[in-house]
C-alpha cells in the first residue's frame, strides 16, 4: 500500500510541476526499481497508481466542464458518449504505468 501511495503521490506532485505524460513512464519504473517489487507487483502498482491518477483527473475535468469537449472528441474516435473517455484515459495510463512498473521490477528483481 505504501508503495502504491508513494507512486501515486509522486505522479501527482511531478505532474503538477510539469504536466507531461512521461511521468507515467518514469515514476512507476523508478518506484518498482527502487523498491525491488518484482515485475508482477511493479506492474500492478504502476498500473493502479497511474490508472487511478489519470482516471481521477479526467473525471474531475469531465465534471468541471469538459463534458462537451469529451463528447465531441469521442465522436471523432467513434466511441460513443464522452463519458467513455474517462475510463479510457484511466486505462491508457494504467497500461503505460503497468508496463513501466513491470520494466522497473525486471531491472531490479526482489531480493531472495
Amino acid at each position: 500500500m505504501i508503495f502504491f501511495l508513494l507512486t501515486l503521490l509522486g505522479l501527482i506532485f511531478l505532474s503538477l510541476i510539469v504536466p507531461a505524460w512521461i511521468w507515467l513512464l518514469a515514476v512507476p519504473f523508478l518506484s518498482a526499481c527502487l523498491a525491488r517489487m518484482g515485475w508482477k507487483k511493479g506492474a500492478f502498482i504502476g498500473a493502479a497508481a497511474a490508472g487511478l491518477f489519470w482516471f481521477g483527473a479526467a473525471a474531475i475535468a469531465y465534471i468541471a466542464g469538459a463534458r462537451i469537449v469529451a463528447d465531441r472528441v469521442a465522436g471523432v474516435f467513434g466511441i460513443g458518449p464522452g463519458l467513455v473517455l474517462v475510463p479510457l484515459t484511466g486505462f491508457l495510463a494504467a497500461l503505460i504505468g503497468g508496463i513501466s512498473g513491470a520494466a522497473g521490477g525486471l531491472v531490479q528483481p526482489p531480493k531472495q
Binding site: S15, L16, P19, A20, W21, I22, L24, L25, F29, W54, A57, A58, I60, A61, Y62, A64, G65, A66, R67, I68, V69, A70, D71, R72, V73, A74, G75, V76, L85, L88, T89, L92, A93, I96, I99, S100, A103, G104, L106, V107, Q108
Partner: protein
Amino acid sequence: MKPVWRLFCAFILLAGIFAGLNRPISSLPPLGTFFNPFQGFWQNGRQIDYLPLQVSLLDLQRPVIVQWDKNRVPHLFAESDADLYCAQGYLVARDRLWQMDMQTRAAAGCLSQIFGKRALEDDRLMRRIGLSWAAEKNLNTIMSDSLCRLALDSFSRGVNAYIDQLDFRDFPLEYKLLNDRPQPWSPLRTALLLKQMAWYLTGYGNHVREKRMANVYATLDSADIERFYPDRPPLGEPIVPAGTPWRFSPVPPRTDCETADQPADSQFPIRPAVPVSNEYALGSNNWAVSGSRTRSGAPILCNDPHLGLGLPSVWYEMQLSSPHQNVYGVTFPGAPGIVIGFTSSLAWGVTNAETDVADWFRIYFTSNRSTYRYADGFRPVTARIETLQVRGSPALIDTVLHTHHGPVVFSRDKEPTDSRMPVDAALCWSGHRASNELATFLWLNRAATVSEADSALRGYVSPGQNFILADADGNIAIRHTGGFPIRRKGQGRLLLDGSDPSDEWSGWIPFDHLPAAHNPRQGFLSSANQIPADSTYPYYLSGNYFAFERGNRINEILHRRSDWNGLDMAQVQRDVLNPDVPRVLPRLLRILLQKGVISAWIDTLETWNGEYRKNLIAPSLYEAWWQELESSLWENHLHLSRTGLPRPRWDVTLKMLLQPTDDPFFDDSSTFEVETLVHWTTRSFERALEVMQQQHGEPGASWRWGEVRKTDIPHLLRFPSFGRHGLSVDGEGRTVSAVTHRTGPTWCMIVELTRPVRAWGTYPGGQSGHPGSLFYDDRIDGWINGQVEELLYLENAGDHHPWLIAGTRMEAKP
C-alpha cells in the same frame, strides 16, 4: 540475464512506448499527450468560457475596457485606434485562433505542412491561381496607407501577444488533434484572408464559365445560345431601379466588335462534360427602406449574407469604440475593424456582386516556354517558384509561369488539379490587381453619413459587392462596387486570345460610372445578387447573376407597406415563399387534371401557397417534380449527357415552361409522335412520386421538406461531432431565406437608424471557436427558428445594462 542487459531491455521498451505515444500514428494524434488530463483535450473544456477580469498586454499604451454581453459579444472601449485594434486582435485570437490560422494557411497554400500529401493539390491550386502573389501585392498597397498600417500592425501584435502566452495545454483543441501549433500572425496573413474571401466570392461559376460556354458555342447556333444560355437573366428586376438615368459619358471598350459568336478555341478541350451542380449559387440579401416607409420615420437597413455554413462561425461579432469611431457589427476573424455593421448614425451591408471579373487568356508559348506571343512580337515569361512543405515528405517545388495577363494556372505539361480550368491559359482576375479593400472597411467604421460612406467605397476593388447604405439623416443608397473591367459585348464568355492586344480588357469602369442609386422615389433599395442594372446601362456587365426570385420577392414585400419597423423586417428575412411556384405550379397542375391524372398529392400541391416550411410535404413533392421535369426537358432537347452541355439556368427552364404547351421545344425529335408539355408534365410527375418513394420511403413524416432537404453546418475539419448535421430548416435556395444543404444566411442584421440606433441580429453558430465551449454553437437553434436578438450598442465604456455579464480591463504590461 545480467542487470545491465535488463536495464537495456527496459530502456528500449520504455523508449518504444514513449516514441509510440508521443507521435501521431496514422491520423491519430500523439495519444500520450492528447489524453494527458493536464495537457491534452481535457484542458479544452469550459475554462475558455471564463472571462478574465484583467489582461496585461505589452503593446497597449492606455487601458482598454471590455464589456461582455449575454451572447459573449465583446464591446471594446479604447483611447486610441492602435490600442483598439491591438485589443481586437487579442480577443479575436482568444476565441478564434485556430480558425484564422487555418484559413490563412489554406489561402497561402500551406495545408500540406499539416495534412501531408492529401492537401497537396489544394495547396497547388492556391499557389497557381496566384493568391499569395496577389496578397503580397495588396499588402504593399495596404501598408502605404497610414490608417491601414496602424490597424494591421496593432492587430497582429494583439494576436501574437495572445499566441505568445499560450502553453501547449491552452492550444485550441484542433491543434492537439492535428499535432500542430499556432503560427505567428502578420499583416500578410490578413491580406491572405481577404484575398481568399475575394476568390471565394468571385464565384466558381465565373471561374469556369469559359470552359462551360466553349461546349455551348461549339454545339449550338446563335439563336439557341441566346435562348438557352442568355447573357442576361431572362426575368426579374435589376438592383438599380429601372429607368434610373445614367449621368456620365461611358468609356468605350478597346474595340466594339462582338465576340458572342466566336467559335471555341480549338486548343480548348471541350469534352469531357463539365459537371453540373444542382446546388444553387451562394446568395445574399440587403435592403434599405427610407423614413417615408417606416413607422419611426428613420431608415431601416437589413443584410443577410449567405455563405457556406460552417463552424467555427464565419463571423465574429463585436463593438469597437475609440475617439474616432463607435461601430458594431461582424468581422472576419483575422481582419481588423468591422466588415458589416453600423455606427450611431450609419448602417451598411453587402451582397455579392456576381459580375464576372475573371477571364482566361490562351497563351502561345515559344518552344522553351520562356516567352509567349503578343501582338507582333514576344514577351518574356516570369517564373515564380513556389515551395510546398509537405509533412512526412520532401518539399515540392512548383514553378508558376506569369504573363502580363496573370499566372498560367495549369500548363500543358502538368495534370490540372481542376479539370474545369483550361490549360496553357492565363488567369486575369481583378483580385490580382493591387488594391486596398481594408481601407474601405476601416473608413466605413468611422463614417457618419451615406455621403462619407460612399467616399469610403472609392478604391474598393475585389470581391465586387453591392454596398447598401442608410443614415440617420434619412438617406439610402446602393452601389454595385468593385473593379469591373470594361469589356466589349460578349467578351469573356469564351477563352480570349492572349496574343491579341484587342482581346485585353479596356481598363476599369470608373467609380462614378458604377450602377448606383440614391434616395429613389420608390422609397427603398434592395439587392439579392441579381443583375445590377437594366439594358440601358452603357457598360457591358456579365456574370453568374442570381435569378429573379429573391430580388422580386423582396421588392414586392417592401412595396406593400409604408409603416415598417425594425422587427417586422425579421419576418421579411425569414420569408420562404418561392415566387416560381405561383407562376408555374397552377399551370402544371391544370395539365395533370386535364389529362385525368388522379393522385391525392394533387390536392396537397393545389392548397400549397409556395412556402418552403420544414413540416410541409408539398415543397418536397414540387422539388422532386421540378428536378424530373427540368432534367427530362433538357435531356430531350439538348442531350446533355451526350453533348456535355451545361444544364441551362433554372429561370430559363421556367421561361420555357411558360411557353405554349405545343411549342416545338417540347417535341422529342426521336419519336414519330409530337410531344407537348403535357407529355413531360405527366411523365415527370409520376416519376417524381416514384423517386420520392425510392429515396424517402412510404409517404409520411419522412417526406416533409425538413427531412428531405437537411441542412448541415460542418466544422472546418469535417469531423461530424464538431458540426451540426441533419438540421431541419425552413427555406430553399430561391427563397429570401435562402437555406440549402450547405449554405444559408450567415449573419442576419436589421438596423433602425433612430436616435439612439436600434439593431437586431443573429448568426448560425456562436462567438467561441472552441468546440468545448458553451458558446460554440449556442445560437444555432435560435437561427433555425428565425429568432433575432436585439444588439446592444453601448455609447460609453461605463454604460450599465442588464445584458452585460462581465467586464475585462486590458492594461499595459508594466
